[in-house]
């Protein structure tokens, strides 16, 4: 067993992505879905950083992308939580299956 290689990181990324996707699909709680989305974004981050580590470039592109993703995730979470709050204010619930008034 030597030091972990690129496939190990990628497997971690896949597991994270799968968990995130599963969370997004199964949860009806809006906050739970947001958490799933975070998992997916972080799975991507793991991949970015891993590729940068094993396929180095002097510009550190992977790391920079990861930083951007983190910032974006923060912004996304802020906006999404605001929407969730607004939904809660209206419906007294954060179950997305109830928020179907735009349908039909």
């Amino acid at each position: 067993m030597g030091a972990p290689g690129l496939p190990h990181y990628l497997i971690v990324g896949v597991v994270l992505f799968a968990l995130g996707t599963y969370t997004v699909i199964t949860r009806t709680n809006a906050v739970g879905i947001l958490m799933g989305v975070e998992l997916i974004l972080n799975a991507a981050n793991v991949n970015f950083v891993a590729f940068q580590r094993f396929n180095p470039s002097p510009l550190l592109t992977g790391q920079v992308f990861a930083l951007f993703v983190i910032v974006l995730a923060a912004a996304e979470a802020a906006v999404a939580l605001a929407i969730v709050l607004a939904i809660y204010m209206n419906m007294k619930s954060i179950d997305v299956s109830h928020a179907s008034s735009l349908k039909d």
Binding site: T21, V24, I25, T26, T28, V96, S97, S100, L102, K103
Partner: protein, 849 residues
Amino acid sequence: MDVLFHVKDLVLLAAEGGEAASHAAGVPQKIVEVGYLWLIPFFPLLGFAINAAFGHLIQRRFGKKYVSYIAVGAMALAFLVAVAAWIQMIGLPASERYLVNFLWNLFTAGDVQANLSFALDPLSMMMVLIITFVGSLIHIYSIGYMADDPAYWRFFCYLNLFVFSMLLLVMGDNLVLMFFGWEGVGLCSYLLIGFWYEDIEKAKAAVKAFVTNRVGDFGFVLGMFLLFWALGGSWVQKKNVVAKHERVWSQVDPNYKPVAQTGTFYERDPALSPQSSHRGIRIGPSLTFREIRDQLSSEETGMKERLLGMNFFGIPLLILAGILLFVGATAKSAQIPLYVWLPDAMAGPTPVSALIHAATMVTAGVYMVARLNFLFALSPAVMTVIAMTGAITAMFAASIGFVQNDIKKVLAYSTVSQLGFMFIGVGVGAFWAGAYHLLTHAFFKACLFLGSGSVILGCHHEQDMRKMGGLKRFMPLTEKTYLYACIAISGFPIANAFFSKDEILWRAFDSGHNLLDPSLGKLIWFIGWLTACGTSFYMWRSYYMTFTGEYRGAAGHRPSHGALATHSVGAAHAGTFNHDVLMSATVFDDDPHPDSGGVDAHAKGTAKHPDHPDHKAEGGHGHGGVPHESPGTMTYVLVTLAAGCAATIVLGFWAPLGNLLGIDALKVPLLEHWLEPTMAPTLELVEKRSAQSGHAWEWALIFASVGVAFLGWFIARSFYKDARSHAPAKLAAMFPRLHRVVYNKYYVDEFYQATVLRAVSLLSRAFATFDAKVIDGAVNAVAVVARFICNISGAADTYLVDGAVNLVAEGVIQTGHRLRRIQTGRIQTYLYAAVAGVLVLIGIHYLIR
């Protein structure tokens, strides 16, 4: 031999080309091109256009006077231009008296070339002078005659249009233009006969004239086509002759152009003599009189032999074409069998009867025969038909004239009869004599007709001579001119018609082989001689019935007021007749339209004032009262025409007397000399065929003619003078059946009604039935079938096409309903699908790789 040919040809050429071209027929015709001839027909056309467009405005705004100024002014200008052309023509040598004014090409279709081109040769010059001079006089006369008519402007408008058409007819230098004029005068005749179209009888007369003329036009057109066809391409047969001449001419004349290039037999450079260009003979089919004449008169073209030898379905072509053209002439010039329209045409206003149905239009047929003399003279058979038709018509019409009581009807039959004389003239080869009679007739017959118009107006639109009488006292000028015209027509040697009629009779007697058999000439002379006696009789009858004895009109007008009638006549006797008397006479006459229906069966038609349905009692010539003389514009025209009757004696002054007196200028009548260039192609031929009976016979015939004129006069005088004799009534009673037949015009109208018209109406009814049953049936059957097919098509549309469309729509709707379930709106569902999709893609990826 070849050299000999050359010499002969050169001589021929020199003779033709030389200035002293005394070639018998003057071939080819030399022409003088002028630029003003179009003005002659243009002025009447302009007058017509102005009065047609603005006539009613002018009449309403400024009065009738200005309408007549325009019309009469147009005529006067045309006459002046005609005189100018005449003066120019007199100045030319006889062989060059052919003025041509080419305007433009109307159309060219293959070999047919129709130009708007006017030509004046001595014959058409004579016609143009007659038309414009007599026409002007009659226009002036109409000012007075039509003064009360509300449609004054329309009358003058038609009259000008007529003169334009007539000028086109005589001045056109080709058959096409002549035909335009021919139809134009027919149209104007129709319009003017039916001028008072509110009266159904007059409208019927107009239609009758029009339809009868169409029959003749059909013959005319066929003759024209046949002639054109016959002229086609003959020079091809004579190619060798042409080639021979060409060889010689090209050596002689540096400017010579070959036939193939110019289509002309011989053409000299027109620049050599621009004034009188000696053009060549144009070869091939042609409609231009001059070209046909040149082709027929020149031996080299071989056209004459070709036409003489040509047959059309076994009939000699010249006979067929000549007779077809003559059929056109019989309709226009009222000869048997198509004369029936002319007596009815008297329904038109009297100036129209004078201008169109006596002086000008009806002579168009005679003019046409004289114009095509070179064609007609070639065939003695056609000449015989023409002369015999003329003779029989003359006799027939004169006999009807014996018993007519309507003054205009007498004159109408007299016109038919005189036209018969003209056709005798042109038929026996005396073309100039026919033309001369045409000229004299224009004067004396216009004078008679206008005189009768004056009488009719004076007698308050009474046309029945039995209700006239004694008019000598009331209308002295009219009486004197009528008297002189009577002297003229009955053939006393102190007026023009004696000279023309006598020349015709003499030439008929002397015609010899111009007709099929020399004895026919004698027969025609005899018929003509008897007719001359009849002419004298019926004209003097009309004179005595109208102008002598007591006035019978007032009594007939109002039988219950006998005292009134004698009173007014008495007043006139004393010479104190004036408007006051007239007015006092009309005061008693409380009914302005007395019903005289029971008085006389014949008066039925005329009692309602047919000549003037909308004539109102006003001014100088109201209804009732005694006759009165017509206004000056009318009487002075009569005087002028009577003077013309005397003056035109000079033109045809009797050759034997000229010889006897030893005056050179009179040895050949002036008009004969004048018309020589036109008649040149036939002069020699006619002369050669004549019997040459000698001067002794001529003198004898002259005395015979004068004798019968006196005889006719004497009988008429003893029968009708002062209405004292009972002989006419006795004669009528003695032969009641004969009288009835003649009085009813030999029942020719009834005969036509029973045969031709009945046949035509039966045929039209048969066609109508055919139309209703067969054609309409077929149309209806088609409609039924179409409707059936449409029903099928409609059903197919409803069920098949619409069904398919609805099916598609329904399918789409159902599919939509099914598919909308996919769209849940829940993001999880979509993600399920996305993940499933990815898994599938991955699966496929593994499987395919």
